[in-house]
Amino acid sequence: MKKIFSRPESLTPAPHLYCAGCGHGIIHRLVAESIDELGVREKTIAVAPVGCAVFAYDYFNFDVTEAPHGRPPAVATGIKRVLPDRIVFTYQGDGDIAAIGTAETIHAANRGENITVIFVNNANYGMTGGQMAPTTLIGQKTATTPFGRDAKRDGYPLHLCELLATLKGVAYLERVTVYNPKHIFNAKRAIKKAFQNQIDGKGFSLVEVISQCPVDWGMTPLDSVAWVKDVFIKEFPLGVFKDI
């Protein structure tokens, strides 16, 4: 018998503290496999966000630093500019990257920082108990939109890839999802490309991963992946938004 699929070297054996069915674990594996396949584990420095993935340093088997909420692109900029031959990536949620850290995100992108950004969009603040995120859908109920997100009061879902696509400094933007094996394979391709771009010196590459958050959505894992398929990606269409 030959082993064909197993835990990548870039993940530690530590069990994930994520909720059952959460997409983070899948995305962690895709990042870890990409880094293994590109042979850069020993050159990689990751920047963890504030949010569910704050414990990334327990899961990734390479150097990881913490960053204040929303500041990973600035921290990554500092690392990459002084160590340009290392592979530097941020792993951020929707609140981190597109609310409190919007300025850091846009300006790191606009400077064309040669970093990779993994953006996990699950339409709410998971860690703090499912509050409204910039990406929460209109009508979606969260801990802070108990009657559903109302555009007049709360604004509209923020589409980061579309926003960043106008910036000259950006090399690559793609929105993918992980609700079934086919999409997971596609997400892996996109994530690996975002790292390959950094190796090739192409500049700012961001992959937005539409992911399920069953517990904070109040759904079973199976219902949550169905909601991604039937509702979530209708608001956030998948695809490549920029690829120079």
């Binding site: 584990r41 327990d58 390479f62 630093t65 600035a74 921290v75 990554a76 500092g78 300025a103």
Partner: protein
């Protein structure tokens, strides 16, 4: 040979001489010479300069450079330093070295662009959240802008903690002949690099973090920090004293106000008044013991600051009721002079 330099430029050159490899800043008066000078010099030297999108981004770029063990700094003035407080708290929690210069201006709020010392509390009492301390150096001359910028990097690395140079718009903007001593560039010794992140080749992966969720872990981390802060208090107090042995009145002042106080004390001595000066050079650790030892019965203390009265609280704690402590200050960008200090001395 001395060179005529502006305080803000001397700060830059001191940092460059210390081997500062990365500068991240944002424009704000009265420190604009710093990013402007660094934008040219750092690029000429093949080092890193970024004009950040905000003070928040700048301090976090410093954090990023610092986790790799690279000497990095940022500078700003009071309102911008307020924005950096989040990052300073993280630097302290993560035990990362960094140098931050505050060329203070009048506040609160947008205030004005005149020199001020209104940020003493913010710098010495923890402007950010959590239980931490930060080494604070207060230069009173252009020469010290150079020297302290140089020394700050070594201190920051020795204790793995941020160091603030708390200057002000007066020292930042004035020009004086300055000795640019030839320093060797220092780097972190190999045995002190066991925390840096540079890729995990030939070693286990490392994490830099301030989040400690395990039961008791954060309390232990805070006690460990306390031990470090105790070491700093034991070893790094710096203080200048002038003619305090026979003094009837001791002026206590820091930064540009100490410069004025020393001038006032000379004038007063020429008139037969026995005036001495204590000048805290490190505002934290504060020279409590030196002030306490000088607090002899019959003596009076006069604290002078360009604010409404901040360091005076630490002086009172050090004097501990042994002598009367008076205060003279000018907040909001006003400047004290000999006449004002001599008038106050006459009233004591």
């Amino acid at each position: 040979m001395k060179t005529l330099l502006k305080g803000n430029i001397a700060l830059c050159e001191g940092a460059i001489a210390a081997g500062c490899k990365a500068y991240f800043g944002y424009p704000i008066t009265p420190q604009n010479e710093v990013p402007a000078h660094m934008s040219r010099r750092m690029v000429e030297l093949g080092r890193v300069f970024i004009q950040a999108e905000s003070e928040l981004a700048a301090i976090n770029m410093v954090l990023g450079a610092s986790v790799t063990g690279t000497r990095a700094m940022t500078s700003s003035s009071s309102p911008g330093i307020s924005l950096k407080q989040e990052g300073i708290s993280y630097l302290c929690g993560c035990e990362l070295p960094a140098v931050i210069a505050n060329i203070q201006r009048g506040g609160p709020g947008l205030g004005n662009i005149s020199g001020s010392q209104g940020d003493y509390f913010q710098a010495t009492k923890g402007g950010g959240h959590g239980d931490y301390r930060m080494i604070v150096l207060a230069p009173d001359s252009v020469q010290e802008m150079y020297d302290f910028a140089f020394q700050a990097f070594g201190l920051a690395e020795k204790y793995r903690t941020p160091v603030m140079i708390l200057s002000d718009g007066v020292v930042g903007q004035m020009m004086e002949p300055t000795e640019l001593t030839t320093h060797c560039e220092q780097t972190l010794p190999a045995e002190s690099r066991n925390w840096i992140l540079d890729g995990c080749a030939n070693r286990k992966p490392r994490a830099v973090k301030s989040l400690m969720m395990a039961d008791g872990a954060l309390e232990q981390h805070n006690w460990d920090l306390k031990k470090k802060y105790d070491r700093i208090e034991a070893n790094e107090v710096r203080c200048e004293t002038v003619n305090i042995d026979d003094a009837d009145i001791i002026l206590v002042a820091f930064g540009i106000t100490a410069r004025i106080a020393k001038s006032t004390a000379r004038t007063a001595r020429s008139r037969g008044l026995k005036i001495g000066v204590i000048r805290p050079v490190t505002l934290w650790p504060f020279p409590t013991a030196i002030i306490a030892a000088a607090a002899k019965p019959g003596r009076k203390f006069l604290v002078a600051e360009l604010n409404m009265g901040q360091m005076v609280e630490d002086v009172k704690l050090a004097v501990n009721g042994q002598c009367p402590v008076s205060f003279i200050g000018r907040p909001g960008g006003g400047i004290l002079d000999d006449d004002a200090l001599l008038k106050k001395i006459a009233e004591l």
